[in-house]
Amino acid sequence: MLKIAKSKLNDLYAKINESMGLFIPVKVAGEVDYRVWSEGKEVSLETLKTVKSPKSMFFPQTENLMKFVKEGKNIEIIDVREDFDQRKPFVLFGVKACDYKAIEVLDKVFLADPVDTYYQDRREKTTIITTACSKPEDTCFCSVFGIDATNPLGDVTTYLDNDYLYWQANTEKGENLTNLVKDLFENGGEEKVAEIKENAKKVLDCLPFKNLDLSKFKPENLNELFNSDKWQELSEACLACGTCTFVCPTCQCFDIRDFKTNKGVVRFRCWDSCMYSDFTQMSHGNNRTTQTQRFRQRFMHKLCYYPSQNGGLYSCVGCGRCVNKCPQNLNIVKVIKALGDK
């Protein structure tokens, strides 16, 4: 175990940034989100629920896929990632246990055959530093999904108290990074870390959602859950915005669109939401015409469809962002409680 005084963290960021990119929670106009670090930015590792999750490191909100240049009748396709091999490796710093688990959920989609190489390229070039939670919030319910907020994995695990950041490498990637920055560190901190964990566990034990019951959400109950008459009431206040989707660390639906520029056509992908009315719109019809159907799709996918496809792994990690951010206070907890009753 290594430790570094919090007052020296800026030196650590600068050192990492010498040879790698650094993606870290930064305060911008009052809100904390993962952004590319540069000197002078206000880092906030303590923030549990960044507005957007770190998924944008691997799956950015918008991303150019390719370019088409047309000459006469001929189309030339240009892969816009030619610089990928030269691209600097990245360090993703400050990932909480729930968000780390969410990367596993995303991996199962993007790295499944056929592999999404855009995602894979970024994933492989990134070293992930997790940060244990020391002050869980009332909307947190990661333990329901078997996640230990005090003990996240990743290439390096860090812990925070008032004065120090404690550092523990877990993997070869983590060791390599440690070697690069270890001059800034001193040894020690095991006891402190045990204390941090102990204190956080006390709060985790009194979280209001810690006993959420997921036992009803099994593939064999798919049609029963789908046909429940509770969806109407659960979704009645839904604005059909994409807030829950876009703040969610596991939502991964995307759109692919073309954008005409004066130098050709750029095909890009961007986050999309199954909450939007045009998500399944085809020229000859739409298989989900009501907001209740779209609302149901989102939660059924997280709690039933995805687990059915992925060996029981839920596509929710209990980060509580949707609980915090839904403009009308609808969220997955209310769905679990309403439908999970046996």
């Binding site: 911008v28 106009a29 009052g30 809100e31 989100d33 549990l48 629920k49 507005v51 957007k52 909100q61 918008t62 002050k135 869980p136 919030e137 009332d138 909307t139 709060v203 009194c206 209001p208 959602f209 009431e233 009645e236 206040a237 604005l239 059909a240 915005c241 994409g242 807030t243 989707t245 876009f246 703040v247 759109d255 669109r257 954008f259 890009f268 961007c270 986050w271 999309d272 939401s273 939007y276 009315s277 045009d278 609980v323 915090n324 951010k325 403009p327 009308q328 206070n329 609808l330 907890v333 209310k334 409680k337």
Partner: protein
């Protein structure tokens, strides 16, 4: 506050029981003390979860677009600011007025759950309001703060009184503090162009294009938004470049100018807390200055400054300089 809630609930019960209305739109309790949701109550039993307290900030008027088209009457509880949106929607023929029964309710100014959560380090176990003080309890410690510091942005400068209502439920005759709602707009106007650009650039760079501002906005009542129409040529659901990131909100503010009642829902729902209402307020201030004082939603009929022409209207060059 409990007294108002009790009266509202009793009234909702009467209306449903007597069959005068088929449904009542109000708020229902959430999982915490701060996360109430809009809800439609169709039976007396459903009213068990009925709630009205300091965390009922959402504007219920837009739900009437759909609900007023259903068979039977719909009763709705509207706070003073919400009645302006209601009138505006009637003016724009979005709501079937004959199918609506409006109960105007007292507001007392609503609290901002997010501000309170931040003060409680994300873990709120209790909130109590005593006069102009709010006590916030949390396992991480208790705090007493001034109520004015934890209000929803839209409530902190509100001076509205009801402009619609078939009946009223008012208990406390709460007096709203008089504040200048254009104060922040004036601050922005006083900035240099570069400073102002930097301010909005920084704010708008946070936008995730979730469209919550648009979807909650009672003035955004188009059946199909131009940004959702693939045939429009500008259909988009993401910031594919900086230009769009900066302009989506400005364009939206233009679309609702002269119709925005300043209900403040856009800023309340923004997951990134972008002060979107300031764009609309700038338009309102400019309209007031250029065409004379005008408050959208005050009336359900009559001409509006941006949709009518008079010979005394300001010339375009005057309008350009109007905001200065």
């Amino acid at each position: 506050m409990q007294e108002i809630q009790a009266k509202m609930k009793a009234r909702a019960k009467e209306l449903l029981e007597s069959g005068q209305v088929a449904r009542v739109i109000g708020w229902k309790k959430g999982e915490f003390i701060y996360d109430n949701s809009p809800a439609t109550f169709e039976s007396v039993e459903e009213l068990d979860n009925f709630v009205y307290d300091y965390f009922c900030g959402s504007n219920l008027s837009k739900y009437l677009i759909a609900e007023s088209k259903k068979p039977g009457k719909t009763a709705v509880f509207l706070k003073p600011c919400d009645t302006y949106s209601y009138n505006q929607l009637i003016k724009e023929h979005r709501i079937n007025k004959d199918n609506v029964y409006v109960i105007a309710i007292e507001c007392l100014a609503k609290l901002n759950a997010e501000t309170i959560k931040n003060l409680a380090d994300g873990f709120v176990t209790g909130v109590s309001v005593e006069g102009d003080k709010v006590t916030i309890s949390s396992p991480y410690g208790e705090k007493v703060v001034d109520k004015k510091d934890v209000l929803l942005t839209k409530c902190s400068t509100c001076s509205k009184t009801h402009v619609a209502g078939d009946e009223q439920i008012i208990v406390y005759n709460f007096e709203k503090p008089s504040t200048d709602r254009f104060e922040k707009v004036k601050e922005l106007e006083a900035m240099t162009e570069d400073e102002r650009f930097a301010f909005w650039r920084s704010q708008l760079s946070k936008c995730i294009r979730c469209n919550a501002c648009r979807n909650v906005c009672p003035a955004c009542s188009c059946v199909k938004c131009v940004f959702d129409n693939p045939a429009s040529g500008i259909s988009a659901k993401a910031n594919d470049d900086k230009f769009e990131e900066q302009l989506f909100h400005v364009i939206r503010a233009f679309h609702v100018s002269g119709r925005c009642t300043d209900c403040g829902e856009c800023s309340r729902v923004c997951p990134q807390n972008i002060p979107l209402h300031l764009l609309n307020r700038k338009f309102i201030k400019d309209i007031n200055q250029t065409y004379g004082e005008y408050q959208a939603g005050e009336e359900t009929e009559g001409k509006t400054p941006l949709t009518s022409y008079t010979v005394n209207d300001a010339e375009p060059n005057e309008v350009v300089n109007g905001g200065k």
